[in-house]
Amino acid sequence: MEKTDKQQLIVTVSPHIKSEESVTRIMWSVNLSLLPAITMGAYFFGPKALFVTVLCIISSLLSEYFVQKGLKKKVTVSDGSAFLTGLLLGMNLPSSLWSFSPFTIHIPVIGSVVAIIITKQLFGGLGYNIFNPALIGRAFLLISFPKAMTIWNTPSSAFFGLDAKTAATPLGILKEEGAQKLIEAFGDTTNLYSQLLLGHRAGSIGETSAIALLFGAGFLMYKRYITWHLPISFLASAALLAWVFGGKDMQTGKMLLFHGDPVVHLLSGGIILGAFFMATDYVTCPSVRRGQIVFGIGCGALTMLIRLKGGYPEGVMFAILLMNCFAPLIDKNMRTRVFGFVKKKETKQ
């Protein structure tokens, strides 16, 4: 009877069991899900692609470490979030940045520093940032170094060719020379689609291979780390707008309604990478599902607006960043429906 008396008991508030899920596990799973895409990137663009990505990852990790040390915070480098930022940034850069003359190797480093320090840690670290760090890093670089950031290498199996040829991205061709030219560049439509799907095209390191990205996205959805709401509304609205407004008569330069090619728009550029891996960043998108749908539609619409009408061939990055501005507003105005609440209280808001 006495033996149980003097044991030390731990007292905490309920619940007393917790799920196995943790931030670290989520972050590393996302990193893992990007593995196929980065492998394809390395296959198409050679070791340079890997160097750029690794450079981004290392400088992100170091930035995170030094800022957290400097601010006397707990160092959370191992939770995988800084790694993810670096990886995503690297995947959004052209492999041509690994070049010694002209010297552009500092560019990925600057991007990582901006991403981690200005976009994330100045706001208090993981969970508090308003903007997607990797995308801000990339936007900062694109504006700062417009030339270096738009030199695209042709995908080649010439693995160690340091003086790789350059080419325009499919979206660049589409914007400057039209759909016909794009099909010509790839032979025929079937070939175009299959090459785009596989990722055999000029572009950022990690964005080209649609199929590898979709594979990773499928994994994340299966693990329920992301839900369909945001990516599908993003892609669907973009596809719809591409179909309706994407057509263009090359002779007159006038818009041809309902003649656009949504497949090309969905398979080229960074839209798949953006929709599944960047827009869905928990911290910077709305957390209520209904809000995520609005967010996704906004991203899709802005992407197509910039692609078809704007000054850049690709709009995914700016579209997501612009919607990041609106995420707090969406969160504030689109709440969940409280159980048992009848409409009247909602309209009172």
Partner: protein, 435 residues
């Protein structure tokens, strides 16, 4: 018929296999019981005995202190040794009666009524009331009050809550397996008292044998229906159960009677039957003693007032170093700071979690806004916002996010990948502001 359920909720491992097969056995009589005079929601009882007095089993020792209250009876025969303040499971000091067991097990005079089926509604109500029956699911709300709804509320449905959605606990399950007929009788009495012709028994789908037994016991009675519900926590929460069974949603601040429903736990139904039939007061209940940290998980019929330490010894003591001992289930139960606290009418289980599996609340991270808690909240709240607002001392703003609609089921804290003690934050904010 489709799966009956509500939206939100979680699927924690149910761990019921630990104690599922163990039949309810009477626990060894305790040397001494400590019976708190406030075991229910509402006004505490006033003691009606004095120190040194001999009491018999079932004798009234505390009379109700108000309308929302329930009398308390002695659970053993013996001698009152003290009436003093003693901590209960929540750690609050409560006036309690200490009774030393004389081992004679002598019953006080009970009013047996073999013809209970012919009793009038008022007589039945009186029996239930004087038996001191409260909701045995955990909330311990006086049953007689629930059975006397105000006139303007027209009750049309009674639901017996056999969901037992808390992991580990098997007390209700065992009762449904072992005493289905008496539970059905209890339900009939409740229906008679309320003048209702629709009775449901809602049971989670992970207990198919219980569903079967109860269906058998209900027989061909067209008024009673046994329903299998989706296995999901908190299926057994009153509001969620009503939603799953009837499709009706209660306004967040409302009561079941606002949608014309009364819900009773299976244990309560059994107690009602026993009170009506034998006049037996509520002096014992089934307690599941379980968890990875206990040697012989079992279901025991325990006298109210038995110290928790006695139950743990009876089940073979701790296995290894005990980490946490919880009164109730793992999701909503209270961690005990001492094993001396007594079992009360609301104690459905004693759960021992070994030290290695305890999650410490102090190492949590910032909210990454993943929205999991929003998805699982059965009340449709935004626990992420509530916890952040409370963490940053913006307590007033939590009202805007309907903090008072939270019933602290803990689903949010369960799924949180940052391991945030969301329930704790919510309780803190609730305690600092007024609704």
């Amino acid at each position: 018929m489709g799966v009956l359920t509500f939206s939100g909720g979680i699927h924690p491992p149910d761990k019921k296999e630990l104690s599922k097969e163990s039949p309810v056995t009477p626990a060894t009589l305790p040397q001494r019981v400590i019976i708190p005079l406030s075991q229910h929601t509402g006004a505490p009882c006033k003691p009606v005995i004095s120190i040194g007095q001999e009491v018999k089993k079932g004798e009234l020792i505390g009379e109700p202190g108000g309308f929302v209250s329930a009398p308390v009876h002695s659970s053993i025969s013996g001698k009152v040794t003290a009436i003093a303040e003693f901590p209960n499971a929540m750690g609050r000091m409560v006036t309690s009666v200490f009774i030393e067991n004389d081992g004679r097990e002598e019953w006080t005079a009970l009013k047996d009524s073999p013809d209970y089926k012919n009793l009038s509604v008022d007589e039945l109500k009186e029996k239930i009331k004087s038996a001191g029956i409260v909701g045995l699911g955990g909330a311990a709300f006086p049953t007689s009050v629930k059975l006397s709804p105000p006139k303007e509320k027209h009750i049309d449905t009674v639901i017996i809550n056999g969901a037992e959605c808390e992991p580990y606990l098997t007390a209700d399950y065992r009762l449904m397996i072992e005493r289905p007929d008496e539970i059905i009788e209890g339900l009939r009495i409740i229906m008679k008292v309320l003048g209702v012709s629709k009775g449901f028994i809602g049971i989670e789908d992970n207990k198919p044998d219980a569903v079967e037994r109860m269906t058998q016991a209900a027989g061909r009675d067209p008024e009673i229906m046994v329903l299998a519900l989706e296995v999901k926590y908190p299926q057994g929460a009153e509001k969620m159960l009503i939603k799953a069974v009837t499709g009706r949603e209660i306004h967040p601040r409302g009561l079941p009677m606002d949608v014309n429903v009364v819900v009773q736990n299976v244990g309560t139904a059994l107690a009602i039957y026993e009170a009506a039939r034998f006049g037996k007061p509520l002096i014992e209940r089934v307690v599941t003693v379980t968890g990875e940290g206990i040697n012989r998980p079992s279901n025991l019929m325990v006298r109210i007032g038995t110290p928790v330490s006695a139950l743990i010894d009876e089940c073979g003591g701790f296995r290894g170093i005990s980490g946490k001992v919880i009164a109730g289930g793992p999701m909503m139960g209270f961690a005990l700071s001492s094993l001396d606290v007594p079992v009360t009418k609301g104690t459905s289980g004693i759960l021992v979690i070994p030290e290695g599996e305890v999650i410490h609340a102090n190492d949590f991270e910032t909210c990454i806004r993943c929205g999991r808690c929003i998805d699982v909240c059965p009340m449709g709240l935004m626990p992420s916002m509530l916890s952040v607002l409370s963490e940053k001392a913006h307590y007033e703003d939590t009202k805007e996010y309907n903090i008072f609609d939270c019933f602290e089921c803990g689903s949010c804290a369960y799924v949180c990948p940052s391991k945030r003690p969301i329930v704790q934050f919510i309780r803190l904010a609730k305690s600092l502001i007024k609704p």
